[in-house]
Amino acid sequence: MEYLFLGILGFGSLYYIGKKVYGGIKGTDSPCAGCSDQSCPVSGGKEYNFDEIVIDD
């Protein structure tokens, strides 16, 4: 009985973690909640305008 309980929890969490880690490395998902390689709600969210000029032409 207890093995079942532990087993479900253990494999469930392992699966979830594995999925997130794999995704994090692929860049399609991430352990950080809501973070993907596209966006992150934990970010500063501020649009800075810092222009940089590369010597050219």
Binding site: E2, Y3, F5, L6, L9, G10, G12, S13, L14, Y16, I17, K20, V21, G23, G24, I25, K26, G27, S30, P31, C32, A33, G34, C35, D37, Q38, S39, C40, P41, V42, S43, G44, G45, K46, E47, Y48, N49, F50, D51, E52, I53, V54, I55
Partner: protein
Amino acid sequence: MALNKSKRKNNEVKVALAGNPNSGKTTMFNELTGSRQHVGNWPGVTVEKKTGRASYQNYSLEVIDLPGTYSLGAYSEDEVVARDFLTTGDYDVVLNIINSSNLDRNLYFTVQLLEMGVDLIAVLNMADEAEKKGIKIDKEKIGQLLGTPVVETVASKGRGIDSLLAETVQHRDLSEAALKIDYGSEVEDLISEVVSMLKEFDFTSQINQRWAAVKLIEHDPEAVKLLEREVGVSKAKKIKSLIAERELKAEDDFDNIIIDKKYEFINKVISESVQRPAADQEPENVSDKIDAIVTNKYLGIPIFMAVMWGIFKFTFTLGDPLIGYIEAFFEAAGGWLGGLLVGAGISPLITSFITDGIIGGVGSVLVFIPNIFLLFLAIGILEDSGYMSRAAYVMDKVMSKLGLHGKSFIPMIVGFGCNVPGVMATRTLDSKRDRIISILINPLMSCSARLPVYVVFAGALFPNHASTVVFSLYALGIVMAVIMAGIFNKILFKGERSHFVMELPPYRFPTLKGVFIHMWEKVGAFIKKAGTIIFAVVVLIWVLANLPLGVEYASAQSLIGQFGQLMAPIFEPLGFGNWQAASSLVFGILAKEVVVGTLGVVYAAGEGGLRAALTANFSPLAAYSFLTMVLLYTPCIATLGAIKSETQSWKWPIITASYLFVLAWLVSFVIYQGGMLLGIGV
């Protein structure tokens, strides 16, 4: 324009916000959409795409916030994204947010929109600031001259929003003729020639051809790309040679003529519709006076340090008592719940799951919501006030001495929140070398996820100096970042030096609303993280703490104990060679808060409280050494993943993960052994 409208219901309106940075566009977006904004990303680039919903009467509006840019040239991703959307995106009308107290510059952008043929409503925002400066704008006249509807607003105070919504909805099918500025006979002749060639070559009718011609004459690279796509390379060449031919014969650069004529137009519009108070000299305003001090050669950096210190003090003095309450709550709840469950005959295993696992593990992380909240609040206020650009200016001097430059500063500041967007923010650096170096040192900017670890240890082992200890860690991180940047600078490939141009917006009082919206997002994300990955790891560790069946909970014989003991010897010389610390560090690679979560589970914190357990198991010196490890070592998977996608290779995340671990180990070693020798904190 707006030729790509998708089918929609009669009461649905899609509106895009466009304008300069510092025109109050973001504030306007917040005003219109409230907390219903959704932050995402434009595909392929790291430019924030914000969309949200607004409603007016029975209309439902989708509001798209385009990146703030000074122009629609093709100099940066922001501009390309904005321009692409304006030419081919799906929207009904554009709200051009204009800073009324800075018309010259803002109208330069407006004029570009108008020449493109964008259907827009001119929103004269920051009307209060213009009024303060004695600037009087004749709404009717300027609307006439620009050929657009005009609305006055003060987004930061919520004024004029209703009329704006009304105008927007009224003009949702707006279709204006594109603005034509007379560029003088030479350029105009060329424009006609190019336009007829475009027609001949069947250039798309989706884009205003006159505008395209002007862009081609300006040698706009995106326009050239578009031309080649539309008519093919050989025909494009014909147009390009025609332009080159004319340019050789011309007296003045076409670029200069075009800019001059644009400004002539703008000046004319302004002189006919705006009254300004007579001013012989530029008045010294408050912002200048503040800047004189804040950017002073000698005071600049100390002030910056003081400001950072202030943020800490604020976060802790206010945060600690709150944390105390939450902690006490969890402890009481844990004890009560435990007793209840045992009394009800619930299996001890399940009881343990709830008290040791969930409350001990996840609870110990949730306890830090006040700190996270206050930290981001402080940073948000600082950013909104306009100080951050001064900080970047001040730090540029220091950074150039190390071969970096001011622009690397922003990713670093962003990194204090989370290293993932910090790494992504390095996209603004053009030089590859600068980018890689900034990416490599970004994890040294202690992210908010590590804060719970610092706080819990500092609170337990350095009760009277908690904020100083935490501050010292952040400072250590910065110092190490600076040192590593210097080292990387020497050993990595040489790149071009770049210069910078940066606007210093006037200082402003941040709006409570804007700041709180951000805070809400962040706290929400934190809680979500706690409920997902942290929960998952906690569950896993708890399971391992109960296996093999029958083993004493979280003892050295449990699976987690054995796992930890495998790793522990590495950390022996650093003062925390126990399996609990070791396993928490290993799992911390999944997410830094998990370090606390793990310790919470293995020390059965649901009953006694984590702080007590730490005091019993770490000496102050060992604790500090441990914290240094947490500060400097391998960043979380999410960060490594971000590094991989930003650098498009495995090499850099691996290098990052390794060098940071080694660095952390060495520094912790020095601190612990050094402290032992000197007999401190044992």
